[in-house]
């Protein structure tokens, strides 16, 4: 009867024109390989964000989709959307 904790990124999505990378992390408590309970936490990696602390898989995705053009386009979007109208 061994209890173990498993942390996995079970869902990684690329969302929208600016290629936001949505990451869902699942933390599960397992007993002899059978899941007893689990929970999710999420975060988003946007174009231009520092993704060096992300998992290797997320880093690879960000490197592929956060091109210079996407980073520049998203920066322009952010700059243009700081007014609440």
């Amino acid at each position: 009867m061994a209890l173990t904790k498993e942390v996995t990124q079970d869902k990684i999505e690329i969302v929208g024109d600016y290629k936001h990378v949505q990451v869902r992390t699942k933390t599960a408590v397992m007993e002899d390989g059978v899941e007893l309970s689990s929970g999710f936490s999420r975060h988003v990696v946007s174009a231009g964000d520092d993704y060096s602390a992300e998992s290797a898989e997320v880093q690879a995705i960000c490197a592929a989709v956060h091109t210079d053009a996407v980073v520049a386009a998203y920066a322009a979007h952010v700059a243009a959307s700081t007014i609440g109208e």
Binding site: V15, H20, F40, H43, H77, S81, T82, G84
Partner: protein, 184 residues
């Protein structure tokens, strides 16, 4: 149904697929079924109709770590979310020491809809640090195609109804809560 059933062994009776389908189709719908365990649906569930707008295909709850762009450090960073269909509701509690810059809360769990001019707003409660600028009310809003919440002071002026909050408007440390819903 028993008419064409074949008895293959003393304890085994086989029905054709047509017979099974017929039996299921004839069975009267259960008005208010009661289930005693969990129900797992790999697809969606239609509620109140059969159109695409009636289909609930996602429910999820979890946590995230919100942060303030102008913060030098955080002592509390709590974020909880519930997603029902395309609507995400987040509750945030932050306590931080400020350095400089805008008070933009980042780290939301989902990117907001890209719909043009879509800026849903939520509720804000300043606990510490807003004594000089909170009198006109502080507003929160989601920015389309981003995963952030912007904070604004509501101005009593016809020339401008709001001012983006930055570190000059708030004390050296602040503590606040936000509750906001947005579509994705």
């Amino acid at each position: 149904m028993t008419k064409s059933a074949t008895r293959e062994a003393a304890d085994k009776v086989t029905f054709t697929q047509t017979e099974v389908n017929s039996a299921v189709a004839l069975k009267a719908p259960i008005a208010s079924p009661v289930f005693t365990g969990d129900i797992t649906v790999s697809g969606g569930v239609y509620l109140g109709g059969t159109g695409a707008a009636n289909k609930l295909q996602d429910y999820e709850e979890g946590t995230f770590t919100p942060s303030v762009s102008a913060a030098a450090s955080h002592s509390i960073q709590l974020g909880f979310y519930t997603k029902v269909g395309n609507l995400v509701t987040v509750t945030i509690k932050i306590e931080c020491a400020l350095s400089s810059g805008s008070l933009i809360v980042s780290g939301l769990p989902f990117v907001a809809s890209s719909a043009s001019s879509y800026h849903p707003c939520g509720s804000f409660f300043g606990v510490i640090g807003f004594e000089n600028y909170g009198h006109g009310g502080i507003a929160t809003q989601i920015v389309p195609n981003q995963a952030v919440v912007q904070l604004y002071i509501q101005n009593n002026s016809s020339s401008s109804n709001y001012t983006a909050i930055d570190s000059t408007h708030v004390a050296a440390s602040c503590n606040f809560s936000i509750n906001i819903s947005y579509t994705v």
